[in-house]
Subunit: 425 residues, 2 copies
């Protein structure tokens, strides 16, 4: 049984540090170079999509007759809308199929809000002295960065295992009409793996907002990305917003980036008829249409929700051992020491490790010195600043199993060292 | 020899009108339905690209080693940069390869100028009471629409056969720091087919501008789209702007939309190192990267500039008879009547027809009543308003030759009728 670090004698602690430094130096001298910084699919996962462009040997004509090689069809082709419709539980006429990046659709939505406003806006957001945006933290750095780029004030709200702390969210939303929205990853939230509860979803849909154009940016990035075949039954936020009388409150996003190809998938914006109409009314100035050939190839390859689920099982078979390796090594190395806790997500792309306060930057730097790149300290918090400096996001998808075990052991050694340094100091 | 309409006697005019109405009704009763409204490639042209995704059977690895299926490479892959570099005469490190739509890159550039400013901007354009943008007219409706969408005042400047009237351009640019830029299609300008002269290009690069961030939106949409193999040697505007000490004055755009697939090509933004740096600094919030698989497939299919030129010859072989059919029918029907003139472009996608004042809307409506759709009257002018109501844009690329002949005869009949109606009234 491991002894909690807090109960070590001074001598025990000193011996432990010595041994840990030896291990650390041993890792360093092995000269491995690993990157666990981003939620990047591994080549094996990308191989699962084979060469999906082979489906184009059947020609370029979409089901409804459009030549996908030519201009037109701003909202995308129906067969790809149907797939996203089934994924999100939004009617097909509430779907716009975009290009390779759902982040781009989110950015464009925020940009449009700034320059022109959204449905329900009294004026464009640029005409306010200040816009505030709610950022459940830890969360996704690229979300926060978009709103920071436009000069919004990022308001951190705590993340719980059931979604954002709704007392904080509701208070901010009700108190200031310049609080214009919130970033959400409702399933296997980045990075904690939290699944929003139906209660949280109902509160988001029904809460009183000072802003008539309060917007929930609902990034369902991991909605079908289960590790254990559990498909969480989740309340339908668009239906709830519609029932509550403000169907435009939520805009949903997703993509096939972690289903087919991370750099060349198909993205989606979904929402109420009003949301889709407003988005298209602006998009028509932006483009004549997104890449329909890629939509066609994807629709043919994915085929149906049953096929898609079977395909995601193959991803799970590759990812599951990686998540379990990280969990096993963390348990072996850190279990019982009372210096760290970590998530055991049922899906998604991340394990979130929380260590002692004021230690995360130090640990991440030590790992970097040994050529293991982790997500930057604080990245999961607004402005890249973790107030506790205790949060470390682990992205286990890309490395091979053996590398992952090595990297996780190194990380664990660094966590232990940093903890003991504190006690010794 | 046809007699100019102005010299017809009243009786002759009346007889002519009667005959023309009979012809018009005959067209109408044939029940054909044709669309010549947009510069859309024909299926035969799209077939020229075959199934370019077959090149992906050689795998997904880019020349420099990147897995095009995964995240990364915000500026695009080098092999596609090289092709655009050769097309535009801009060094490869001055190239960003985008998604399927160059219009989207242009829109994003203007949007970025509004929200954040461009290199050289004293402040974001949203912080001016009014932004003015120069629109050489007739010009491209989608260009004008982007700047109108952002609330800019569109300032019409006359188009000549050598480019915009530089006296007007220089006067506006020098007189007001809120005049922030100009839309240009330097080769085979939409819709007149004008080719910018080196003198005009030098003036654009060297003129004194009140705005430090005056921006030339240089849409080289038809730079390799020759009908007669003539490759106009044109001064390099980026080099001239650089020599003049403001390398960021010009931002260039192009795409393969009318080389490979109109709905699924690859686009490009090009400019000085400062332009590229600033664009990437903003794009990184927008996307992790554009579709690199499509870039790879395109680079492999297009191969080299020699191949690309040979490929464009095949487009010319399909397009040339179409342009010549329109010209022949217009000559047969309207030649010598002194009621119309039209362009005989050496490339691009349009023939521009100028008829008598206050007649274009009437003619376009009559054609529509006979199921031939032309570009809307005034579309080539700011705010969709042709001050003379005399300009008609003909897009001959899409219809089959026989249909095109029919449609052009119908159009000619309508032009003649409208001219005589005036004289009779």
């Amino acid at each position: 049984m491991p002894v909690p670090y807090s109960r070590l004698t001074a001598q025990q602690a000193e011996d432990e540090v010595k041994e840990l430094y030896d291990r650390y130096e041993a890792f360093k001298s092995r000269g491995v170079k690993l990157d666990m910084s981003r939620g990047k699919p591994s080549p094996k996962q990308l191989d699962l999509a084979g060469n999906l462009y082979e489906t184009l040997s059947a020609g370029f004509t979409a089901a409804a007759g459009a030549d996908t090689r030519n201009y037109g069809e701003l909202a995308g082709i129906s067969e790809m809308k149907e797939i996203f419709s089934a994924m999100l539980g939004v009617p097909a006429d509430g779907i716009i199929v975009g290009g390779a990046s759902s982040l781009n659709l989110m950015y464009d939505t925020i940009s449009r809000a700034v320059t022109h406003g959204l449905p329900g806006s009294a004026k464009p957001w640029k005409d306010y002295d200040k816009i505030r945006f709610l950022c459940p933290s830890p969360g996704y750095d690229r979300h926060f960065a978009v709103t920071e780029h436009f000069g919004f004030e990022l308001v951190s709200v705590p993340m719980t295992e059931h979604g954002p702390d709704m007392d904080a969210v509701a208070w901010h939303a009700a108190s200031d009409e310049r609080v214009k929205g919130i970033w959400c990853v409702p399933v296997y939230s980045n990075p904690t793996g939290a699944i929003y509860s139906d209660e949280v979803i109902a509160q988001l849909a029904n809460m009183k907002c000072a802003a008539s154009d309060f917007t929930i940016m609902w990034d369902n990035a991991y909605g079908v990305h289960h590790l254990y075949g559990h498909a969480p039954q989740q309340a339908n936020i668009l239906d709830l917003c519609t029932d509550a009388g403000h169907p435009e409150r939520v805009i949903e996003f997703c993509s096939t980036s972690k289903i087919t190809y991370a750099g060349a998938g198909v993205s989606c914006l979904a929402g109420s008829p009003g949301t889709v109409k407003a988005a298209l009314a602006s998009m028509k100035y932006q483009t004549i249409g997104y890449d329909k050939i890629n939509m066609l190839a994807h629709a043919r390859f994915l085929g149906s929700m049953d096929n898609l689920r079977a395909h995601m099982e193959k991803h799970a078979a590759i990812l599951r051992p990686r998540f379990e390796t990280v969990d096993r090594v963390l348990t072996e190395e850190l279990g019982g020491l009372n210096i760290a806790s970590w998530t055991k997500p049922l899906g998604g792309y991340f394990i979130n490790l929380v260590i002692q306060k004021n230690k995360a930057s130090r640990v991440i730097r030590m790992c970097a010195d040994a050529n293991v790149t982790l997500t930057g300290a604080g990245a999961a918090f607004p402005y890249g600043k973790d107030p506790d400096d205790s949060n470390i996001r682990i992205a286990p998808s890309y490395p091979e199993l053996e590398e992952l075990e090595t990297a996780t052991r190194l990380l664990s050694v660094c966590v232990k060292l940093a903890s003991l340094e504190k006690q010794l100091a």
